[in-house]
């Protein structure tokens, strides 16, 4: 995770995290040229996996131009043209996190181009939804845009950062829903477990915000404690925190190459004490 120190990787491994999945996101500033993205994609697919490997933590990444940088549509087109040459790198899961930030026409146009890119290259999709008052509208626009491309199967798309007012919209259309945990300002562990109890657990995964702001790479394992306090079984906890993201990600041949036989390769990790897929987020 390019915004974090190696202390975080050590803490995650110690807490039972089995892999880290890092979406392309905002650098803390708007990149000025396509070369900046080339360097960033090299970092995500080359150096960062090596940094995580020192802690025996498999590192995967998603590639895109983040919606926060989508207002410069000329630059967006250049970045979209750059992405295919990275898609065969061994840690690339698909296209993400694409989506909307302020629900603008330019963001929507760039989102549609990313969806087309994913369809043409048969890639999984990870979607960012806006935060705060823009989330409900943005989620509706995103759902419509993806359903408008008949080449995309909703079961190969995870729409992230759902909250109580958007989770049903996403799940009812057959998408996966991501619940992103924040130590302050947005979704807490307690509310995440509320959503699991209210909206079902079949196509839901939990992830940690791990960005430039206040965020906690251990938010997923800590949510296991909240589930345990409420009396959820170890089997249920393992299913939500580990088996679910694994099931979604096994649709990626590159993830399957590492985790296809996970249950047999790592028998020493106790059920209910492992998790997958902390992600990071930029806004």
């Amino acid at each position: 995770m390019v915004s974090r120190t190696t202390d975080d990787y050590l803490a995650m491994v110690t807490a039972g995290c089995r892999a880290v999945c890092e979406p392309a996101f905002w650098a803390g500033y708007d990149r000025k040229s396509v070369d900046g993205f080339y360097d960033y994609f090299c970092q995500l697919t080359d150096y960062e996996p090596k940094r995580a490997a020192k802690f025996a933590l498999p590192h995967f990444s998603w590639l895109c131009l983040n919606p926060k940088e989508a207002e410069d549509t000329g630059l967006a087109d250049d970045v979209l043209a750059l992405i295919p040459q990275f898609l065969d790198r061994p840690n690339v899961l698909g296209i993400g996190e694409i989506g909307l930030n302020k629900n603008t026409r330019n963001e929507l146009s760039v989102l549609e181009k990313h969806i087309d890119l994913a369809a043409r290259h048969d890639q999984l999709i990870l979607v960012h939804t806006p935060h705060l008052e823009d989330k409900l509208k943005g989620t509706r626009l995103i759902v419509d845009a993806i359903l408008g491309d008949k080449r995309i199967e909703p079961a190969r798309v995870i729409i992230d950062h759902v909250e109580e007012h958007t989770a049903p919209l996403v799940l009812d259309k057959g998408f996966w829903a991501g619940i992103t945990l924040y130590p302050e300002s947005k979704c807490t562990s307690a509310r995440a477990v509320d959503m699991l109890e209210m909206y079902g657990r079949e196509r839901v995964w939990l992830n940690c915000a791990c960005d430039w702001g206040v965020s906690d790479p251990l938010a997923v394992p800590k949510t296991a404690l909240e589930m345990r306090k409420r009396g959820h079984s170890e089997e249920t906890i393992d299913r939500v925190l580990y088996a679910n993201p694994r099931r979604f990600l096994l649709q990626s041949p590159r993830f399957a190459a590492v985790f296809g036989d996970e249950g047999m390769i790592f028998p020493t990790v106790p059920s209910g004490k492992r998790s997958l897929s902390p992600t990071r987020d930029s806004f």
Binding site: E71, N101, K102, N103, T104, R105, E107, L108, P130, H131, L132, E133, D134, K135, L136, K137, R140, L141, E163, E164, H165, R191, D194, E197, M198, G200, R201, K229, R230, G231, H232, S233, E235, T236, F283
Partner: protein, 108 residues
């Protein structure tokens, strides 16, 4: 703690944990403290001269949602109170956004 209760949730899963009363025992002091914190924030804004602001008006509307009986969807209703209800994408990122409440045309 309550492990003998064997509460069934809507999904009919295997949760064996606290019932509503036992959960209240666990969270009441935390919820009470958060509520008093909000009261203190609103008092503080008043004491500093008040604020005519769409965010504060949205906040009071959201508080009304908390007081409405049951339904099990207070969080959804509060979030919806703060949300932009329109359907069309906007022309510019500078038009509004990310203040936490939809100005709805009443922004100063």
């Amino acid at each position: 703690m309550g492990a003998e209760m064997g509460i069934k949730t809507e999904q009919g899963d295997d949760r064996r944990g606290p019932d509503g009363k036992q959960l209240l025992d666990l969270v009441f002091l935390e919820a009470r403290a958060k509520l008093i914190d909000i009261a203190g924030i609103l008092d503080r804004i008043d004491r500093y001269g008040g604020a005519e602001d769409y965010r504060l008006r949205a906040f009071y509307r959201a508080l009304e949602e908390l007081s409405r009986p049951g339904g099990g969807d207070r969080a959804r209703r509060v979030l919806t109170t703060f949300s932009d209800p329109t359907d069309e994408p906007v022309d510019s990122p500078l038009m509004h956004g990310a203040t936490g409440a939809w100005p709805g045309g009443e922004k100063e």
